[in-house]
């Protein structure tokens, strides 16, 4: 668990740094520093660890930077389709490369569907979407053991609405580090 946490913090800083400074060479230094800090903190007090986790997740939301393909964490799909649209290619490549370069890192691909039609079919559809993304990532260098699949079908909508806009947001695969 700590390794994953440090990775998350590290990646956050990495990408945050990236969007601010556009200087990639500087980031590893910051990552090391923060890792050291949070190790001390968690040794002292468990509550601190939670604080670090919260910060990292709030930082994630700032990462919608088109210049960093790794910040793409959601892949959207067409109706009843699990084909990956070509505009997601660079994001999937970036994640695959990241996994290849960080063999101890693992991700969960969470497949979802919109509410239309039957729930069990949608569960299978969400699974196939996640599986399609996984297969792409494996072809691009990730290792099978780094990727866990889960499908929630239509059970965990991103948007609770009942129209095209909501449905589009709900047909997705989330990439969770």
């Amino acid at each position: 668990m700590p390794t994953r946490l440090f990775f998350v913090i590290g990646l956050t800083i990495l990408l945050l740094g990236c969007s601010k400074d556009q200087v990639k060479e500087e980031e590893p230094v910051e990552v090391t520093d923060l890792n050291a800090d949070s190790t001390t903190a968690s040794n002292e007090d468990g509550a601190q660890t939670y604080g670090a986790e919260d910060e990292s997740s709030s930082a994630f939301s700032q990462l919608d930077d088109p210049q960093s393909p790794l910040s793409v964490r959601i892949i959207y799909f067409d109706y009843d389709s699990s084909e990956i649209r070509s505009d997601y290619r660079s994001a999937i490549e970036a994640h695959s490369l990241y996994l290849q370069q960080n063999p101890n890192t693992s991700i969960t691909l969470e497949g979802h569907a919109d509410e239309r039609g039957s729930r069990e079919y949608n569960l299978a559809l969400g699974e196939r979407r996640a599986r399609t993304v996984k297969q792409q990532m494996l072809l691009l260098g990730a290792n099978s053991s780094q990727i866990r699949l889960v499908s929630y079908g239509e059970e965990r909508p991103a948007s609770d609405g009942h129209g095209d806009a909501s449905w589009q947001q709900n047909r997705r695969v989330e990439i969770l580090y």
Binding site: D80, E115, R116, G117, S118, R119, E120, Y121, L123, A124, L125, E127, R128, R131, L149, V150, S151, Y152, G153, E155, R156, H162
Partner: protein, 431 residues
């Protein structure tokens, strides 16, 4: 203190059922010429006090809700006879009444009850049916349902399904969290009980044919698992927890096997599990989605959904031979099959475009008859007498349940006062 707790518990148990009744069932469309019937107030053996249950009220509600009866309002009854000889046939005939149910509730010395009732044809002055039923206090409501079943069958020719239960899932929003619950309730919405509650999604309740167990899918532990829960004891076992999807449980008619969908071998495929040995037999083998298996009433075949042709359609496979045959050809989307109890048709979710409807596929000629208006209807399941289909529909207030007769002439809405309700499954006849 102990006694106080016990007293408290007893008081709690004695609270009227109504406080637990979550489903509010209303008829929204009935047949054009409903059968006129009067249900007299049942006699009560004790001089003092009131009867523990209003049998006539329960029977009245059942028959009214079926959409096939025009039941006289209790305040309009010209008399409330409890014996055959006390019926003023002339008065009833003047009112155009054709049938009357009379009955008595007798408290026995042992604290149990004898319920008796007669269904009488007013014009012919003849008894159509009459029974005495000895019963226990906690089964009085059930007896009222059984009486309703007998009256229904004698006058419509269709086996009644009032003495049955339904299972369904509710979702409540609690601040940011969602609480999912699997309930069972009597077919009239009363006597609702929660079997499982979870912050993670619950779905696909499936009844065992003896009505004693329910299989369902739960996401507790961040992945889908299939559980089987004993209704009486609440004990449950996790029967399937493979990597990937564990979904769509469906019982074999003899209760020995469970059909289910697993993705452990690559993609979603259909398996049957021997519930004694837990061994699995793989039924489908295809790159496409194969899911939503359901057992034919004779236990020889499974119907399921597959998109192997490009769009989701219904297929049928013999468990012995394993060769799937496509059943549905109309529309771009046909999913979630359930056989009618006679095995001659399948109810399913059907779409030709943007709206989703409950439909019936005739297995003799392959025609699909659409029953509901949509726009987002799902999870159809037959009543055990095959006359109605219960399903989930999405409205302004979220998910609601509804039921429609297989000829489309009778509609019921089964609403919750608040929250979302979905995934209904109509249980078997209660023994």
């Amino acid at each position: 203190m102990k006694n106080f707790i016990r007293l408290f518990l007893i008081c709690f148990l004695l609270l009227p059922f109504k406080s637990y009744a979550v489903l509010d069932i209303k008829i929204t469309q009935g047949i054009e010429e409903p059968i006129p019937i009067a249900i007299a107030i049942f006699g009560w053996s004790q001089a003092s006090g009131v009867a523990p249950i209003d049998m006539s009220q329960i029977i009245t509600a059942n028959l009214t809700r079926s959409g096939r009866f025009n039941v006289m309002d209790v305040q309009d009854l010209p008399q409330s006879p409890t014996e055959f000889d006390a019926i003023s046939f002339g008065d009833w005939r003047k009112l155009g009444m054709e049938n009357i149910v009379i009955g008595n509730l007798v408290l026995t010395e042992s604290g149990n009850y004898n319920v008796s009732f007669r269904l009488i044809d007013i014009y012919r002055k003849k008894q159509i049916a009459g029974f005495r039923i000895p019963t226990k206090p906690n089964l009085l409501r059930r007896v009222a349902h059984q009486i309703s079943d007998i009256v229904f069958e004698k006058l419509t020719g269709i086996e009644g399904a009032f003495n049955t239960r339904v299972a369904y899932i509710t979702v409540k929003k609690d601040n940011t969290k969602k609480i999912h619950a699997l309930h069972i309730a009597d077919a009239d919405g009363h006597n609702a009980k929660i079997l499982v509650e979870s912050p993670e999604p619950l779905l696909s309740p499936s009844w065992s044919y003896d009505g004693g167990k329910i299989a369902y899918v739960s996401f507790e532990g961040k992945n889908s698992s299939v559980f089987i829960q004993d209704i009486l004891t609440g004990n449950r076992t996790r029967v399937s927890k493979f990597e990937g999807i564990n979904s769509s449980p469906n019982w074999s008619p003899d209760g020995s096997h469970l059909a289910l969908t697993l993705s452990k071998d690559g993609n979603t495929e259909i398996y049957i599990m021997n519930l004694t040995t837990k061994s699995l037999k793989r039924i489908t083998k295809h790159d496409g989605i194969d899911t939503e298996p359901t057992w034919s009433p004779d236990g020889q075949k499974l119907a399921f959904t597959s998109d192997r042709s490009g769009s989701p359609q219904i297929y049928e496979v013999s468990i012995k031979s394993g060769k799937p045959k496509r059943l549905s050809f109309e529309g771009i989307y046909n999913t979630r099959p359930r056989y009618a109890p006679d095995g001659k048709s399948i109810t399913l979710v059907h779409s030709t475009g943007n709206t989703y409807h409950i439909a019936v596929l005739n297995l003799n000629n392959g025609y699909i008859t659409v029953l509901t208006d949509g726009p987002l209807d799902e999870s159809p399941s037959y009543a055990p007498n095959g006359s109605m289909v219960i399903y989930a529909t999405t409205g302004r207030r979220g998910g609601q349940l509804a039921a429609i007769s297989v000829d489309g002439r009778i509609k019921q809405r089964l609403g919750l006062h608040q929250g979302d309700v979905r995934e209904p499954s109509w249980g078997p006849f209660l023994k």
